[in-house]
Symmetry: C2
Subunit: 199 residues, 2 copies
């Protein structure tokens, strides 16, 4: 170790590491965790499978690195309250049209418990946290975030994974027009009268 240099000193292998990660994201997104093989990823990145092991330790480790995902949610406290749904929906559609990582995570989460755990983490740490900043009653934030997740992930599922034709055919703006009000309602609708007093 060279303690006189910053820890993040550029390594000669950075290009390789990046190529592996890029190929891994693509394969995981297309094939899911099980069908995405290290051999195929290595071939895409034009390196030897053993390099993947050297740099990421194991397939699990590679997935963990590849599924690092930042939703890049805006600060919802600064969004006009009556445009929350529209803003969030448009943001999500844009975000995952540009970056297949979330789709990779979604596909993998269907069969891989670790991926499901990470998916829960993403939504707890990022979506629920953002929602909490825009909701009047903090006690309802988690529930509202869960409902938002159900619609947003359902959209991703039907559009990018199952590819239901009518959902694939909608363009991002139509999607926002239809789904935005749903998200808006989940965020702002007063709690329905319930048999139990609290949640």
């Amino acid at each position: 170790m060279d303690v006189t240099e910053p820890a993040t000193r550029a390594r000669r292998s950075d290009a390789t590491r990046a190529a592996i990660l890029r190929a891994a994201r693509e394969r995981f997104a297309t094939d899911g965790y099980d069908r995405a093989t290290i051999r195929a990823i290595a071939a895409d990145a034009r390196i030897d499978p053993s390099m993947v092991m050297r740099y990421y330790g194991s397939k699990e480790g590679l997935f963990a690195a590849a599924a690092e995902f930042d939703l890049r949610l805006p600060d919802l406290a600064e969004v006009p309250p009556d445009r929350l749904g529209e803003t969030l929906t448009r943001h999500f559609v844009r975000r995952w049209e540009a970056d297949g990582t979330l789709v990779a995570l979604l596909r993998a989460a269907a069969t891989n418990p670790g991926a499901a755990e990470r998916m829960r983490g993403v939504f707890a740490d990022q979506l629920a946290a953002a929602v909490a900043r825009s909701v009047a009653d903090p006690a309802t934030a988690a529930r509202r975030a869960g409902l938002v997740a159900s619609q947003i992930l359902g959209l991703a599922l039907t559009r990018y994974v199952v590819r239901l034709p009518p959902v694939v055919d909608l363009d991002p703006e139509e999607l926002t027009t239809w789904v935005g009000p749903t998200i808006q309602r989940y965020l702002t609708q007063p709690l329905p009268p319930s048999r139990a007093s609290g949640g």
Copy 2:
């Protein structure tokens, strides 16, 4: 072949076939297509793996048989128009709480193209068909059915596959109260003003 008897004459092996199918549904639902192995299914059914091949030809064939799924949708033409969302949502939650087949199909569809194709078939043949009977303008039926699917499947995904805690914690009636109005809106909301005239 005994042509004097009905074609569906009871076979001695029917119990075995059924045991295989039951075990397969369970495994496919829990593990997804790839991780559900024929050996594990056979072990659950307490028979030899080769019997699976004998009766279902291949793993694909077994899955095709196990993923046969009837949504058992009610005739929406007989449901009061203002209760469509509530009725549909409650029906779906009940249906898949009672039968894991749809969850199996969902898990498998994330990685298996054949399963995704079947999922599209289920929703085209059953959901879209049912929706068409309850919608004023038939030209919008497919789109509305797609939106309904996005929310319904998203609910199944977050509740049974990813298991997001806030979605898992909601009981079926709370779910219906929250999600029902979304489905209602997708079914009955007039088309939003769009740049294009139709489609």
